[in-house]
Symmetry: none
DNA sequence: TATATTCATGAAAATTTTAGCATAAAAGCG
DNA sequence: CGCTTTTATGCTAAAATTTTCATGAATATA
């Protein structure tokens, strides 16, 4: 070896690689080659060894942390546990005799699935899927708001729906969302935005159940200002860092 | 710093796409191309790979979340083969541009599943399940007739539905039935009878697809006389003994 | 229908991997 | 110490993979 000082033992080098991966969740062979001043072949051999030991996941061009693969596998019901937590929190707001207006979405579906047997509530919904889920409940009254069915999001949209919603006076409206930041709730579908606006207008209170990942993301069209939200429900504690900025904007955070 | 922001590993990129889809339920190829700074070809190839793995649903221009796509897959329908035969016969009556009014029922669902891709029709339906099935069809316009959702039969009922139906002028109405004999079509649910009467009134032609088992049975409430049926469709040949008595009553038997 | 997007395909370019070989250091041994 | 063996590393050329680009076909959208 040319310079003893700079030379690194194999184990030492591999430890460095592991550390890098833990830090950044990925490494590129080319980067490591430069940083450690060895050929890419050596790096590749290292990565192959580490992959064989199951310490990293080798991919074309470098390697990824194992957690990447984990996250990639669980996909069936995305963020299932989180949505379960959100559903339980949301259900605490439901009282006997309430009129509840709801949109669609998988979070809302988790809520519908867990509706307590004893609860006597009236639901208005634009989602056939949610309606069918709620129809399983013995004491729930379910009114499906008719209209054109959107191919993409599978909820009814259009002037007729908006008109019908305007005739309702609901106690609370549960709104599934796609994007939200400190400024407001946003969505990517214009038609759906119109319906959601009508839903908000028709309800005394607006409740937003969402996984925290959707916070601090914005989409094309604005639905309503964040300040108008009556209750924001995420899987996180209201004390969590991510939630802090929203505490001053939203009336109640669960 | 080792991380090179410009280059992203394939797996990493696909993980990003999955996350984006799970978050917003859909992604556009063009958006991803911009966000990840790769060509749309690369995005398309990623989406195709992910679709092949069954992680996302590829559509024109982007991809959708899987959870939206799956609307309960059931193959354990009673008399599946018979209903398949009936469905194929019924579909021959559908023409481009038609306005079709339909009730619910498993037979109707088999029809909806098999709707040819090329057909351009407008559906009005009282069944959320049928609506969701039809919504998978690219060229079908689906209007869900809103109203109270019946717990038992999972179709919308009530004055509102009847009122809405009266405003429609459909070419044909496909009516699932529960009982029928030489005298007339009968049902056991009074509310549903009201809706079916309205559907018949709103349509130029009435088509009854039913398994032959239901022939020669009668229930509590009468819907309409057998003589009013325009087309009766069963899994049997019109020459079959069971069908013979109906030939004189019904205009067309398939 | 006409126009604009998006898709599929194959070829080309860029990058990464593999495998074989050469070199050199490290280790083992008489 | 000399000698051989083992191990680690780098190099090259060919193979494989990934990405882009160009084109016409298919598809949406007005």
């Amino acid at each position: 070896m040319l310079t003893n000082r700079n030379s690194m033992l194999k184990k030492e080098r591999q430890a460095f690689i592991i550390k890098e991966i833990n830090l950044h969740n990925k490494v590129l062979s080319s980067d490591l080659s430069m940083a450690l001043d060895v050929s890419e072949d050596t790096i590749r051999r290292d990565l192959n060894e580490l992959a064989l030991e199951g310490r990293v996941v080798k991919v074309h061009g470098g390697a990824l942390s194992k957690s990447y693969q984990m996250a990639a596998v669980q996909t069936d019901t995305y963020a299932y546990e989180k949505k379960e937590v959100i559903a339980m929190k949301t259900l605490k707001l439901f009282k006997d005799g309430m009129v509840i207006l709801t949109s669609g979405g998988t979070t809302m579906r988790e809520i519908a699935k867990r509706l307590p047997e004893s609860l006597q509530v009236t639901f208005f919904t634009i989602s056939p899927l949610i309606a069918l889920e709620l129809a399983e409940h013995p004491k729930a009254d379910v009114i499906l708001l008719g209209g054109q069915l959107s191919n993409a999001s599978k909820v009814t949209i259009g002037a007729e729906v908006v008109q019908k919603i305007s005739e309702i006076k609901a106690d609370i409206c549960i709104l599934g969302i796609n994007g939200m930041d400190l400024d407001g709730i946003t969505d990517s579908d214009y038609e759906i935005v119109q319906v959601k606006k009508a839903m908000i207008k028709a309800s005394k209170q607006m409740i937003i159940p969402t996984i925290s990942e959707k916070l601090n993301t914005a989409l094309r069209y604005k639905v309503t200002p964040t300040a108008d939200i009556d209750c924001l429900i995420t899987e996180l504690s209201p004390l969590h860092d991510t939630i802090q900025p929203y505490l001053s904007q939203v009336k109640l955070v669960l």
